[in-house]
Symmetry: C2
Subunit: 227 residues, 2 copies
């Protein structure tokens, strides 16, 4: 059947390269001692709720801030502030991703030098954010159970760029035809060996392990301890 499907390769337009800019930002943050984590997912995969739980744990030892990127609304930054997590809202005004320059503007606004760890909640989108280096030291991708275990096949670049993958909403697994084995196989086919964290931001399952992983990565980045 596969041989019979006709395929058209639509020509890719050239995307501006912001890699050099991202490298400068990364270095600047290193000098500040700020560990910068870019969180990406589809809309509704649970970026905000996962970050709320994880920052709650990390805040015990580290100064943590969150930059919420959204096309228009400010509901996520409001949620963060309500939970006592320092936050700024970045409006992309219709744009589907953040690049290094946009993230630099956000980091200035929040005052990155005052934090050990800054999370960027990128625009909900499994495509475009993968193409633009934000200058982050770690790319965290969240995939949720209801989206289906075939998504690493369909959004390959996102999983190639990821440094770790969170599988969220595992409490809802019984309602969906989702196999953890299958998704792990698909993720590792795209990016061999990267860590995968099954969690439920709703019940809290798996969150502790994810927070520990981020803490260890911060320590290893920093070669020391918090500010």
């Amino acid at each position: 059947m596969r041989d019979q499907v006709r395929i058209l390769e639509v020509k890719k337009t050239i995307l501006e390269d912001n890699d050099a800019d991202a490298a400068v930002l990364k270095e600047h943050l290193k000098e500040e001692g700020t560990f910068y984590i870019n969180v990406m997912s589809s809309p509704g995969a649970g970026k905000t709720s996962t970050l709320l739980k994880v920052t709650g744990i990390l805040q015990e030892d580290l100064k943590v801030g969150v930059m919420e990127a959204d096309i228009d609304s400010d509901v996520d930054a409001v949620t963060m502030e309500e939970h006592g997590i320092p936050s700024v809202q970045l409006h992309t005004c219709g744009m589907c991703h953040l690049d290094a320059d946009m993230s630099r503007q956000g980091l200035r606004l929040i005052g990155s030098q005052n934090f050990d760890v800054i999370f960027l909640e990128n625009v909900g989108n499994l495509v475009c954010p993968a193409e633009f280096d934000t200058g982050a030291h770690m790319n965290l991708v969240i995939l949720s159970v209801p989206e289906g275990d075939d998504k690493p096949l369909k959004y390959p670049l996102m999983f190639e760029k990821a440094d770790a993958v969170v599988i969220n909403k595992i409490d809802a697994a019984p309602a969906f035809d989702f196999s953890l084995d299958r998704v792990q196989k698909h993720i590792h086919a795209r990016h061999a060996g990267i860590p995968i964290f099954p969690v439920s931001a709703r019940t809290g399952e798996g969150i502790e392990a994810l927070a520990e992983f981020i803490f260890r990565e911060y320590i290893s980045y920093e070669g020391g301890c918090g500010k």
Copy 2:
């Protein structure tokens, strides 16, 4: 709390306008008598499974074809062909949306003149596809229950551009904090009065009503009957 959130307006880059091109394509399809429907959603909201069910019903009276757009894989076109639905796969090679020219190339490949209705399954993305007119006569947006009922607030353009919204996976509603009333209110705040179809592509609930709606829109577009 809302007053305390700092907001940064990141400057929007200029997107190429392909509206004129889309208008020409739309007119060309009208001359052919082909009704062209652009289906958009987040990754994993259920575009393919909803289309499988809906085309199964529409095929009883109409010649229906499906163009599957994907960044890389061909799993969806294979699925369609396996179910006896004429289909082509469009590879966007990393691009996050289709524009009018890309959809024209796909329509040539599938041979749009031989069909009454052509569905385009756009790239799974709630942001970029809303900005590019594909030349379609109807924009159908699918939102799924697990994504959350706040999504019309966060992806406003997609719901403004929609001519109808499908709420999929309603069979999973008990497992999620999702209110049909709330989502309808949010959708209608973005786009007053547009039709909303709660369905489950898995159980088939609501699919008949959606197919009837599309059939009526086709008849009204055509001012007549099938080829």
